[in-house]
Symmetry: C2
Subunit: 385 residues, 2 copies
């Protein structure tokens, strides 16, 4: 059976030009994970290691003790004392006119450290190095069928967990209690939160909780309060989900109309983005649609992108559905393609009540948008007695 | 109470020259952990973030949503759309004549990605950038009292776990069963293996298991076999241990003299290294002592360094107790200092029996060597009926 790594390796080879070699250089991968390597080979390395991919070849030059752990679709060349002559010989054999390295403005295509870059320049003087960003961004973004399935599984798991959490939830629970409940379920099953134990989930309870990446606090749940949660699960295969849900906690009081209205405004803004999100549009256009919808409804602009790629990383790189701000570089200018998976997310802070945030995960296909998450269509009332 | 992070931040400030600024640049830290940042601030960041440290100042320029999570000993400057003007202004204020960046030959001092380096060059043209390697290697290596205590705790935990494992061990257990037993204990207590779930522990059973970083196999334990294990624990505070133990499994047969002899040769080689390991010697001298002892006893040279720094990372960087091989760069030329923690490790493969490996963790002080691990002095006989 093809693994997702070998599926991605074949995809990478199909995307490369005949004259190109993609070179992944990495060492001490547990301390310095290389997002590109994690995509095409699920292995860890200790000594300086060099993975060469061309249309026809996949060669792993690794330290002696790492050699046995390499996957079978790589030709493995182990070394002991000096890797430079081996690397030089393999590059000479492949004779590429372009060597793509993992450096980029986009974070997930930027796995090469500067020190390793300097070593490469020393070992391969005058080599035709170029940024792998256009190639690697496409490789990350274009999800294979197995990747699509894995992400859908991760979304389903997050939804099951949130459902269980809402059933267990009690008045008096703190933000931390909510996070602990979800963490217990993950630990029990040997899983991880999509973006680390400290920050995932983020939980916001009540009128004083402002959205941030800070961990959950001791603020406690009371009746007639908002509960907002941003949560995702990384399954065994490494693929992630990332969704936000907002609940109104009540005994039997009706939901305040202002909250119903703000939720609807958020939903409409997500819908506006979804209407625009299809192959051929640029990322910033999707963001602009949501931003315009929300500000037209009288709300402040959200201070982030309306959506990002989702896959083996929560912020999976490639095209960003974001505004053309300096810090985003070229990422919002990318063109959306079929088989890409994105989040759609935004929120509004309601004075006196708290944060209403909404986030869905979607797959772009040639003809339509497939919602991977069960879309939240109303502010969910959680009746707790 | 001082945290280990604030202790390291103060130490960093004490080590910097008045004209220097140490600049840590990082984003999406869950995908790209920055080993230097993990040392002085236990935080994760999402957007491009810049941590500036001078003798008097510690400034964190981070995205709006990360700001709340920053530790209190940093002055926090949040941003939304464009970080460049803020970074430029802060650098102008500090007016350093040298800006140390985390790029290096040594892996743990090489946390800066090449893409981030290019962004820095663009945002701060003509800035006086230099490698942080000499400074950062020293900061990693010189363990504070709290770091020393944390490492000792991690060693003690690994020893307790191995003791429990040897009590539970049964004939017929596979290498995987041994690993699973240790993993269960770690998961129960919310801990992690020092170098990841896939590779830690490494377990070698019997005459066919050759040392490698590959995961444990299905090879099963029988009587009169060697069991070798390389294991370490990362405690909640992030500090690690790394020890190797070798056992001989027996009902009541005596240990074959050849195994006793090889164990003694390994022990003597470790002892030879320990005799040399003191402030002022260069790393390669320590390795040479062990290597000479082992080859003099008629064994093949081990294909690695006799020791590496140990701390927040298993291979913690700084001076390496290794041979002057090309792949090790300048690291074996470093000078050993007091308050450094090292492993001492080597092994011999005995045809027909398997691998005998030994690894201890030691603290270098001004006057003597403190063994953090309870030294293994004989080939441990495990009597299983």
């Amino acid at each position: 059976m093809a693994t997702v790594h070998s599926e991605k390796l074949l995809q990478a080879q199909s995307m490369l030009e005949p004259n190109q070699v993609w070179l992944i250089a990495v060492r001490e991968s547990l301390e310095h994970p290389e997002p590109g390597l994690k995509l095409v080979a699920g292995v860890e390395v200790t000594w300086a290691s060099f993975f060469l991919v061309s249309k026809q070849h996949a060669v792993a030059i690794v330290g002696r003790y790492d050699a046995d752990a390499m996957p079978t679709d790589w030709k493995v060349i182990p070394y002991d004392e000096d890797v430079a002559p081996i690397l030089q010989a393999e590059i000479s054999k492949l004779a590429p006119s372009e060597i793509l390295l993992n450096y980029a403005h986009e974070p997930l295509c930027d796995g090469l450290t500067h020190g390793m870059y300097l070593q490469l320049v020393e070992m391969l003087p005058n080599a035709p190095f170029a940024s792998a960003e256009p190639f690697l961004g496409k490789l990350r973004s274009q999800k294979t069928p197995l990747e699509q399935e894995y992400i859908a599984q991760a979304v389903a798991r997050a939804e099951v967990d949130l459902e269980a959490m809402t059933k267990a939830l009690q008045i008096g629970w703190s933000e931390r209690d909510v996070a602990d409940f979800l963490h217990q379920g993950l630990r029990r099953d040997g899983l991880e939160p999509s973006w680390g134990w400290a920050g995932c989930p983020t939980v916001h309870i009540g009128p004083l909780a402002r959205p941030s990446h800070a961990g959950p606090s001791d603020r406690q749940l009371e009746l007639e309060m908002l509960l907002h949660i941003d949560y995702g699960v990384r399954l065994e295969h490494g693929y992630c989900s990332d969704i936000q849900r907002t609940y109104y906690i009540t005994k039997n009081e009706p939901t305040p109309p202002i909250l119903e209205q703000v939720f609807k405004d958020c939903w409409n803004a997500i819908e506006a983005a979804a209407q625009v999100l299809k192959p051929g549009v640029q990322g910033f256009m999707v963001d602009a649609a949501a931003r315009a919808s929300l500000t037209k409804a009288g709300h402040l602009e959200y201070k982030h992108a309306v959506g990002h790629g989702l896959g083996r990383a929560t912020h999976d790189g490639g095209t960003l559905l974001g505004p053309r701000w300096a810090r985003y570089g070229q990422e919002p200018f990318g063109v959306v393609q079929a088989n890409e998976v994105y989040t759609l997310e935004l929120g509004v802070f309601v004075e006196g009540h708290g944060f209403i945030g909404l986030e869905e995960d979607v797959l772009v296909t040639e003809n339509d948008l497939r919602w991977l998450s069960n879309r939240q269509n109303t502010l969910i009332r959680l009746t707790i007695s």
